[in-house]
Symmetry: C2
Subunit: 497 residues, 2 copies
């Protein structure tokens, strides 16, 4: 514990999670660590849920980095503590609460959240609840497997509660790079010009007096397994890699590409994983989440450096990762999400953004969040931060879902997260649609022809042709009353066919 | 002419517009100056149109800064020369050509266009055709009333043709600040930290050999009159100013606000104009277009500095503006649109973005481009560049259009340009909806209650309530088959009522 808690005075503030939980009062706004199920607080949220289950009247607004583990979102949703949630989530019970109208959820760009905290748009932050591997003598907090918004919560909160997690290796110390831009009108350029550049401190500065409780825990990050890479994902990955090769051949990309960003989850993991067998060398990753495939790419030497805001390793390889973390130490940086997702840095570095879509329409609009227009899946996450500022913005999706009852290519998406103005390339297992420079009419043809599933191609052509023939104004041909009829059909009949 | 053309050798390349027009061949891609009807080439485009009208086979792709005057978009659209157009337009004939499927138009974020030229995404740029007030001895080109993308076209084009426009005052020399970021991976921070900072040269560097033709003209910018400020606009402006006052009172904005961006056109002009009578002082403008109201604000001393990429003054006051330009010289900068619209600079300065919407939906999505989903109006312009990176993003619209047959607040917008993730505040003549931190269900109530026209309020509540009651998943309640029925009704019956 000497190594983990380096200030004598602070040792007096060590307490049980159940004690620390008493700082939380009804109506408070709490900012927590965590970005993906990595580096989120675990012991105190469980103790808070228990208080509620024991009959206490307790409701909280929770702001995180992004998604977190079940001990936080799950336990607080099930117990009814969670009343309001920003800016992202992936937990089954919180999702159900949101879709059942029990939890108010605003789905935000992840680069906006830290600014809003600093601008005061969320009101006062009562408590920052963060996981750490250690606290320095000066109060500086050393995060664990993610940074997310921990630094801004600690900066702005009235009180700080720290969970020191002894399951997280102390060797994580040194991989964080904490930098917090000032608010306008005093903001200065963020001085990153290369993926591997460090510009800040290895810890989050914190006034000693603000730390009101320290809880010691050894609960591991409850990460999610990634699905084995299937044939469809391999085809998507192959199509994407061929597209990148062509861009290099035609001198629109350098030989070693530009820094890669990849969305989170099994498909994204598979897409990135495909690079292990490619001819590309000296790649860099500038992304949010460093997941399994990024580690494989570091292992294989294909990727020479990875910058992110969290390290999420699937349960199978977590122990091995903890034990052998030293081999990654010099090749990895974790930054605050205000930096990992910052438009300034993303546009400067010229990121290749690769994100997954729920559905795409024939004009290139993308739905990333609401199934059938109404049902929140997870959230937009960082996909907008990267897409809008990318050198190249690429969306991947399987061309069908639900065993073919849903076409992922539709006449009009039922919810818009990325507009036609931001989507450069669409990749499915069927092929690639390069939309750059195409008018909506031209895009429709390329998307249907190259990306749609054979079962839906004709129907999509029919929709487009009818729209073109009947529309008086043909810039974006639509039969407006039929544009969402495929979704209505699915909701009624269980199939778009 | 000594002052206008300062290199002896170049004088030999002076020619008639009809001669210069012969450089243009079928299939070429041409980049021109111009951003709003300001600083665009006039004599050569008219000569090109004439060639086509005389029976020559001539088709061109035209890339500009933004909209341009009738001599360019109008003449080339009417003559059939214009086959493909990027990234924005406002001309009646080009708009008709686009909606009639005769011209292919891709509607782009204005900050993306210069990057795409430099990345090679548009292919080769055959000719840069730019208006200038003068050419320096070293070939450096001094733009006139706009910069737009002139600098990147001149940098990348095979040939450069310059129209020296003697109607544009030479006193414009010195107000331009030309800076062109390198391509990734060698891009560096853009060193602007204040609205008034200059970081580049007062001219566009150009190899002497690239200049193949110089045409002397005195055709004035054919700017558009702005509509007189009506009661509705005054109410919108008043509501917006009261909102800003409240933000200052609650310490979410500094007393002298943050740099203002304002969209183009009569409503935007009126909204900005309202600040003349407000209590705000020491304001700055960091925008695209410096139009009439910005000059009024400079005259009144309310605004101390204005940075943009074009100066568009209505026809009435254009002569006066030319004659008295000296009084504005030290208070105005014109930058390339790669800088005026750059996410990096916009987020750093903390811009207050104020743009106009065609329609807004109950969840906060905004349509800025396609009327009834299909009919291109103008384009997204810079509204996305600013909105997404703004400190505060505000959209204004009158609550009804077409004498009340259209509600500007609808269940679902028929085209999405700005998503729920990016729209902070909506202002109509009815009131203000502050959407920050609200879930979709909460947003719907505030938007309907505060912003909708009384004639449509009940109908909107009905839609929302039915959607909430019938939707199984209620994050974003929609009756998917009815969500665009208001538009379908208007198209069929001529009214949403």
């Amino acid at each position: 514990m000497e190594n983990r808690l380096r200030n004598e005075e602070l040792k007096k503030r060590i307490m049980e999670a159940s004690e620390a939980a008493k700082f939380f009062k009804k109506g408070m706004t709490v900012g927590t660590s965590g970005f993906t199920p990595a580096g989120y607080p675990k012991a105190v949220p469980l103790a808070i849920a228990e208080r509620k289950e024991n009959g206490e009247d307790l409701e909280l607004t929770i702001i995180t980095g992004a998604s977190v583990g079940d001990e936080l979102d799950g336990a607080l949703a099930r117990s009814g503590v969670l009343k309001r949630r920003y800016p992202y989530q992936t937990n089954k019970d919180s999702r159900n609460g949101i879709n059942d109208s029990k939890i108010e959820y605003a789905d935000m760009h992840l680069s906006h959240t830290p600014q809003w905290v600093k601008y005061g748009f969320f009101g006062n932050i009562d408590i920052a609840l963060v996981e750490a591997v250690a606290i320095r003598e000066d109060g500086g907090i050393i995060p664990s497997t993610s940074v997310g918004n921990s630094n801004v919560f600690i900066e702005k909160a009235d009180k700080v509660i720290v969970e020191i997690n002894t399951s997280q290796p102390l060797s994580l110390e040194g991989i964080h790079d904490i930098y917090s831009p000032k608010n306008p009108p005093n903001r200065e350029p963020i001085p990153i010009t290369q993926t591997e550049e460090k510009i800040g401190t290895g810890y989050i500065p914190c006034d000693l007096e603000k730390i009101v409780a320290i809880v010691i825990t050894d609960k591991k990050d409850r990460t999610r397994p990634v699905a084995p890479i299937d044939d469809t994902s391999k085809k998507i990955s192959g199509n994407l890699i061929n597209f990148l090769k062509k861009e290099v051949e035609e001198n629109r990309l350098p030989k070693d590409l530009l820094p890669l960003q990849s969305g989170v989850g099994s498909v994204a993991n598979a897409v990135l994983g495909g690079l292990v067998d490619s001819d590309f060398e000296n790649l860099k990753i500038y992304s949010e989440v460093i997941q399994d495939s990024a580690l494989d790419l570091l292992d294989s030497g294909k990727v020479v450096f990875a910058s992110g805001t969290s390290l999420t390793v699937s349960p199978d390889r977590l122990d091995d990762f903890y034990q052998n973390f030293n081999k990654y130490r010099d090749k990895v940086i974790l930054r605050p999400q205000e930096i990992s997702n910052n438009p300034e840095v993303i546009r400067r570095l010229g990121i290749i953004a690769m994100n997954t879509a729920i559905e795409v329409d024939i004009y290139g609009n993308v739905n990333s969040t609401n199934i059938m227009g109404s049902r929140m899946m997870n959230g937009i996450g960082g996909s907008g931060d990267f897409t809008r500022n990318a050198y190249l913005s690429i969306f991947t999706t399987e061309s069908i879902a639900k065993n073919g009852d849903i076409s992922s290519i539709v006449p009009m998406v039922s919810h818009h997260d990325h507009t036609e103005h931001d989507v450069h390339v669409i990749v499915t297992e069927q092929g690639v649609a390069d939309l750059r420079g195409l008018s909506p009419r031209e895009r429709a043809k390329v998307i249907i022809e190259n990306c749609a599933h054979p079962d839906y191609k004709e129907k999509l052509h029919e929709y487009y042709n009818e729209a073109f023939d009947t529309c008086k104004h043909k810039h974006t041909p639509h039969c407006i009353e039929k544009s969402l009829s495929w979704h209505a059909k699915f909701l009624k009949e269980g199939s778009m066919k």
